[in-house]
Amino acid sequence: MRVAVPVFPGTNCEHDTVHALRGVGAEAELVWHRETDLSGCEGVVLPGGFAHGDYLRPGAIARFSPVMAEVKRLAAEGKPVLGICNGFQILCEAGLLPGVLLQNRDLRFICRPVRLVVVSTSSMITRALQPGTVLTLPLNSYEGNYTAEVEEFARMEAAGQVVLRYCDERGRPTRASNPNGSQGNAAAVANSSGNVAGVMPHPERASERVLGSADGRRLLESFVASRARV
């Protein structure tokens, strides 16, 4: 599976992302944000960082980078498109995912491992997992507080578009286990067809045991396996 990993000025997780994707069997390659042709690519992962300096709002300027037209085309064709952290923010600004990521509830940059529970398998990153599975991934963000219109969020929950929630050690999405104030403890959401997803913690930084957790690998394996299903 050929996966494009777009690099914007200010992106900083692209090499980890390519490394982790290669580890699960994808042919991942970096593409500059000015690229206008992703033909031959069967998926996209937008990596984390601070695209275009996060100026104005995170993702607000990246959304208009030339490569995004191709990302939108692939998304519309049903190809898997994943945004990690800043990539998630870009997908929201681009209108490929509902909602927005606001500053963390306590206005602190959060950098620590968090627990996540799989609540829906309707997205390409969770399709290969069992609901109720608890994963540990590092969170590394200031604007990670997921927020959508109340009615829209209710629709998303009913449709299984909230795919991972921050949770405690027993898999319960409690208020105390919500690190950043995200609505409904949402840590990852998907579009209605499940081929576009955004995840705030970093699966690529937890993709080998030497990194402390290999749980992120399961999400990336699911992403790569999803090609056969779309």
Binding site: L56, R57, A60, I61, C92, V100, L102, D106, L107, T147
Partner: protein
């Protein structure tokens, strides 16, 4: 011409930054502070002479880039 855009967080969206500033002001003894919202002002210099056209164009800029309607409102003021 000069145009000012005020981008304000929608009233139904929490503003933790405003909350922190309000708490700090009260700590400093400004007990009368009931609430604070921290907003953004963007000043533009734009070529053109017709204020109506300018307002329309800058409104389009707000819709496409300067504001995110999911969380923000905006106001365009042509200042001359």
């Amino acid at each position: 011409m000069k145009v000012t855009v005020h981008v304000t967080r929608r009233s139904d969206i929490a503003d933790p930054q405003g909350g922190a500033v309000a708490a700090a002001l009260r700590d400093l003894g400004f007990a009368e502070v009931a609430a604070v919202r921290v907003n953004r002002r963007i000043d533009l210099e734009v070529h053109g002479t017709d204020p109506e056209v300018l307002e329309q164009r800058v409104t389009e800029m707000c819709e496409r880039l300067l504001a995110n309607p999911v969380m923000e409102d905006y106001q365009v003021v042509v200042t001359g």
